[in-house]
Point group: C2
Chain length 495, copies 2
């Protein structure tokens, strides 16, 4: 325990837990409270915890001071518990003075609730015996967690009833992301994101893939495209990798056979859209293939069906929390994902009266429409479109051997939006160089990559997906900023 003169500034000395039942510990000291066992709010269930003397730390989510006592709703992650504070001895008055979101330690006895616990997730109460404030929040927070947690429907409904509820706009949320992240929906979104990554890794690992880390700082011009961030690297011109494409292929050429990487991908996007970020988390893999690029599609199928299954089976609570604030329909997907040829997709769109260029790329609208048509025909929100025209794919894409106007490539769609792009890659030096030159790429800037294909390069293919986009589309969230912890878009570089 620190003594008074070690405190910073003129703060009063901290309370002594043996003597003082409440007070401020706001110098950062950590201390024991003898006689109380540490517990997590989530584990406070009647069967587990009733009668136990516990110590719990959490945020002061809400305080209601009544005449005889005070109620403090304590929040930890996505769990909340009601704490009952007796009026005697000044503790209830102290509680009434706690600013919302302050971090507090509560020590007391767990009991079944005397009344229905309003707005708390746990079906017990804590009869508070000691109450210390650990960290004071400023009394005027720029946004409140309750306001940030409100659904658009609630605001609209209230308005219709003549009531004015605060609606926190996207920019204000993101400006105050540290508070915004505390909503139940956001706690759930980032749990789910962590789970998606886990299953992605798990399935690939079980199939013999190794996790690799390719450099983000690269010489030259990444994949020769526009939209790269440039920088000075100790006097050499450098840029940030737009994807691990070149290096993951080089890893396979280096004998690593099956590799994957989860890491940041940088795109100097200039236009604001609902589904592009300047920095996102790439889910990439690359593998030696035997007879067909469909071997890559098979892996996509196993990985993503496993991800969707896992979320539905093991993350029901999280999905429900998201659904409450951002309602969405469950994703429809099949055990075996339909694979539709690009030509067939064009035919379907034409039959539906949509104007499309047979050898051109699909625009966002046509993709949406095709998603609807496929859904109507196959009853799935998840499908693959294969054999894209070569002209709309990157230079490293292998043309079909039966018709080089098409390529051994595919995109995967969720709810009519692209989430995965994959292909067999060109593993022949001459053809690769030819295709790069034909697209106007300065082959000098990708020389090290090209040279890799002179040393014996196995047939290979792979895919890339975006973690934020997977979660956005699975949960129908409509804006990728919702699934990025601290999003970076053309205007936003903060917080």
């Amino acid at each position: 325990m620190s003594t008074a003169d070690e405190n910073h500034g003129d703060a009063p000395p901290p309370p002594q837990p043996e003597k003082d039942n409440y007070g401020d510990f706001t110098g950062g000291e950590l201390f024991p409270i003898p006689g109380y066992e540490w517990a997590e709010v989530a584990e406070l269930e009647p069967a587990m915890a009733a009668g136990r003397a516990v110590r719990v730390r959490g945020a002061a989510h809400a305080v209601r001071a009544l005449s005889r006592l005070a109620f403090l709703t304590l929040r930890q992650g996505s769990s909340t518990v009601q704490c009952v504070i007796p009026a005697a001895g000044g503790m209830a008055r102290f509680a009434g003075g706690l600013s919302r979101e302050s971090v507090v330690d509560v020590a007391g006895v767990v009991s079944p609730p005397r009344e229905h616990v309003r707005g708390a997730t746990q079906q017990v109460e804590i009869q508070v015996e000691k109450l210390y404030c650990i960290n004071r929040a400023t009394p005027n927070l720029p946004i409140s967690v309750d306001d940030a947690a409100r659904s658009d429907e609630d605001v609209t409904r209230a308005k219709a009833a003549g009531e004015q509820l605060v609606h926190v706009g996207q920019d204000k949320r993101l400006d105050n992301r540290v508070i915004d992240l505390r909503t139940l929906a956001n706690q759930a979104i980032f749990s789910i994101e962590s789970e998606v990554e886990h299953i992605f890794r798990n399935v690939l690992r079980s199939e013999g893939f190794k996790s690799i880390h390719t450099p983000k700082l690269i010489g030259g011009s990444s994949e020769g495209g526009a939209a790269v961030f440039k920088l000075d690297y100790n006097g050499q011109p450098a840029c940030l990798a737009q994807s691990p494409q070149l290096h993951k292929q080089m890893a396979v050429c280096g004998g690593l056979q099956r590799v994957y990487e989860v890491g940041p991908v940088f795109r100097a996007e200039s236009s604001n859209t609902h589904r592009h970020l300047c920095e996102f988390t790439g889910l990439d893999m690359e593998m030696a293939i035997r007879e067909s690029y469909f071997e890559v599609c098979d892996v996509v199928d196993r990985v993503f069906v496993a991800i969707f299954d896992h979320l539905n089976k093991n993350c029901a609570k999280e999905l429900e929390a998201i659904n409450r604030q951002f309602p969405f329909k469950p994703l429809k997907y099949l055990r075996k994902t339909p694979r539709i040829d690009y030509e067939e997709g064009i035919r379907m769109l034409k039959e539906a009266g949509v104007h499309v260029e047979p050898m051109g790329d699909l625009n966002t609208e046509a993709e949406k429409k095709l998603g609807e048509l496929v859904n109507a025909k196959y009853d799935t929100d998840f499908y693959m479109l294969c054999r894209y025209p070569s002209a709309v794919r990157p230079f490293y894409t292998m043309p079909c051997s039966d018709d080089p106007r098409y390529s051994n490539s595919f995109d995967v769609f969720v709810r009519g939006e692209e989430i995965i792009s994959g292909a067999q890659r060109v593993n022949e030096y001459e053809l690769l160089k030819q295709q790069a030159e034909a697209r106007g790429i300065d082959v000098g800037s990708i020389a090290a990559y090209l040279e890799s294909f002179k040393n014996g390069a196995p047939p290979h293919g792979g895919f890339g997906a975006g973690l934020e986009r997977v979660v956005m589309l699975f949960c129908g969230l409509g804006n990728i900023r919702k699934t990025s912890l601290f999003p970076r878009d053309p205007k936003r570089l903060n917080p």
Copy 2:
């Protein structure tokens, strides 16, 4: 199968597997060989495979043409198998013309070897019936896999015996990393790196940590330090994160309680050392703590002992492969890692006659020496040094409440070199701002971070390690470039 006029350039038409038993398939086409089942070299064991008609794809590691037949050593990852090619019909001649490292498909019958199989890992042979070259390597490779795989000892021993063996220097290896990666030692190093990451994630996940992804593109000046890479972000000054420090703390302030991140970390280092890179893979975690920063040390202990145990138990083959080219002593570590106070460390060094400043940082030499002293006393290469002087730690480090000249911080050492740095963080806005200012940091550039501590911030701590350094030190590799797939140092931005 493609027809002649679809081939690129003037290459001859590819062979037809039904008719032609050997030839070049170098247009990138993929094809079936009816009657032969695909197999991986590693699974070709006598019990499993003898008598099976298999098809295997790999690199032509070596070809020996004898009078009556030819032997081809086929390599796939870190496994090799001897293929016996009959002279009849021109196949042996074709094999003799294969450049080393060319990718070839072999179809044949697995048999027990007639003689001891020289230089092959698998104890079977393949009696070749069909042999196709899939991708020709250039005949004059800049380095050979055999040369790159040679240990320094072998070169020295040969020299002493009057024989001249090629020694491939580090720079030449790295310039030709795609070939260099094919050595057994490198295949093993990157398997082990993948395993280290897996166990790191696994243990943390089992303790309730979530995987997060913090932005690498940040405004201002990262942690206020030098050595940052600067860039232009759509007209705003930006830099690359020197670590996920600020954002992982903000995630904990956002209610995520226990988070970890494995991702790139950028340091604009200017001096070449054996243990610094300009880009490396950070293993970071941050967690709410209850009573002490030792809770973070406890996690370090569980995570790293689990990693070391796993490598020793499940990666013996890989460690052996590394040991053959780069001999090292097994790492000594204990079930419970010793925690030594900085003051005690200083005392030990002084007693050993080493000049050290009691309140200054240890230099590399003193760290090495202390490692030896600790090893002599505790019989371990792995220990923690706790309670560093505040003056030598970053501004966000929590001072000790009993003596602010020291801090609630620690470093962890392997074989006398630092691999982990951790601490309790300051969660009080005023103190944090004060400490930043006292170190001359422009607090405006970290405003969003500082503001996070006004919203109610729980006590927390965490650590950061470097993946490449963990593997380098576990395997005593002596140079961090050996454990980075495509290393970036002050001079190297390629390949």
